[in-house]
């Protein structure tokens, strides 16, 4: 049940950001679909993988791959799908709890949470980088 709610809301969130970034037409649909893929991967991998950081890395990898492929099919900049599809993976919750612990002055918890949030963001970045490097390596002209 929680999973279903997460998948639906994650997709809606990505759709909302796609609207904010002025994505139109069929690209809007595929941007929201990217959000769906991201949350779906996150939920399904979460069943098997204990480490949240590893989960984030794998999701980011798959979603970036999706973005690169879609960008080539639809002939549009990769940014379109990267920035919207990764939205559900942004560690907003964990960032918030880092903030609250900083506010209440629990320094050791703050450091724990802070490092955890940074590792999630790092995992996200690593996924993007791996795909970006491979896309460059394959060396197709992007225009």
């Amino acid at each position: 049940m929680t999973m279903l709610v997460q998948i639906i809301t994650g997709t809606l969130g990505a759709l909302g950001f796609a609207l904010l970034y002025n994505i139109r037409g069929k690209r809007l649909f595929f941007a929201a679909l990217g959000g769906l893929i991201a949350t779906l991967c996150y939920c399904v991998f979460g069943l098997f993988i204990q480490s949240e950081v590893l989960n984030y890395f794998l999701c980011s990898l798959l979603v970036s791959l999706y973005a690169e492929i879609m960008a080539r099919i639809i002939k549009t900049p990769t940014t379109t799908f990267i920035i919207t599809s990764l939205i559900p993976l942004i560690p907003g919750g964990s960032l918030y709890y880092t903030m609250t612990t900083a506010f209440s002055g629990e320094i050791s918890t703050f450091i724990d949470k802070g490092i955890y949030t940074l590792s999630l963001a790092g995992a996200l970045a690593a996924g993007i980088i791996v795909v970006l490097s491979f896309a460059k390596f394959l060396g197709k002209k992007r225009i």
């Binding site: 809606l12 970034y21 002025n22 139109r24 990764l86």
Partner: protein
Amino acid sequence: MKKSLEIIMDIGEQMMISGAEISRVEESIQHLGRAFGAKRTDAFIITSNMEVSLHDENDASYTQTRRVLNIGTDIEKLHRLNDLIRKICAKNISEEEIKARIEEIKCGTVYSFSVIMLAYGLISGAFALFFGGGVIESVCSFIIGIILSLIVKATERASLNKIFAKFFCSFAATLLAFFCLKLGIVSSVDHIIIGNIMLLIPGVGLTVAIRDLFAGDNLSGALRSIEVVLFAIAIAGGYFLSAGIMGGIAI
């Protein structure tokens, strides 16, 4: 060649404004230079400044620099520019037509403000549920999201400093969430605030910064990263201030 340079600068500037990565803009300028018959094209671009030189057959060189401000995210514009560049490189478009297209793209099409407001509400409502909130919290978050869209618009219109604007938006959103708590509508502000914070987190900035850094544009990547960190601190600061104020009042 002078006219070509003008066109290239226009296209590059619009690409920057619509939020393209540096490597994409530089690459596009290289392609355009070749398409316009320049012997050599040099482009140096960082987040807020672009500088391009074209050399023609007679070894005369033409240079222009532009200061680029008001960088945002407008994917529709980027897509159209991309199409235009592809057309120019395929060389089946006249100079007048290119100019007309650039003007058309500059004006752009954006969603109406009511759609934007709805998107703000949708995002915060959805993420309040996503991070484990209840239905009531999601509704509160939805409403605060819509109010936040008005606040963001107001800060943009007042052309506030971007970092202070983030601080203020975060302060206002958290304050509203604490009001919901004080009125007894919800039992905890956590998920409402998370929903609203998702709106303020510079997710695009972070993604573009990473892509810039690892595409070899270290300087731009670093500049953007600094901006992201400052925004994050401003958001936390806004939260601290309102939590401090509301925490001190016992109702």
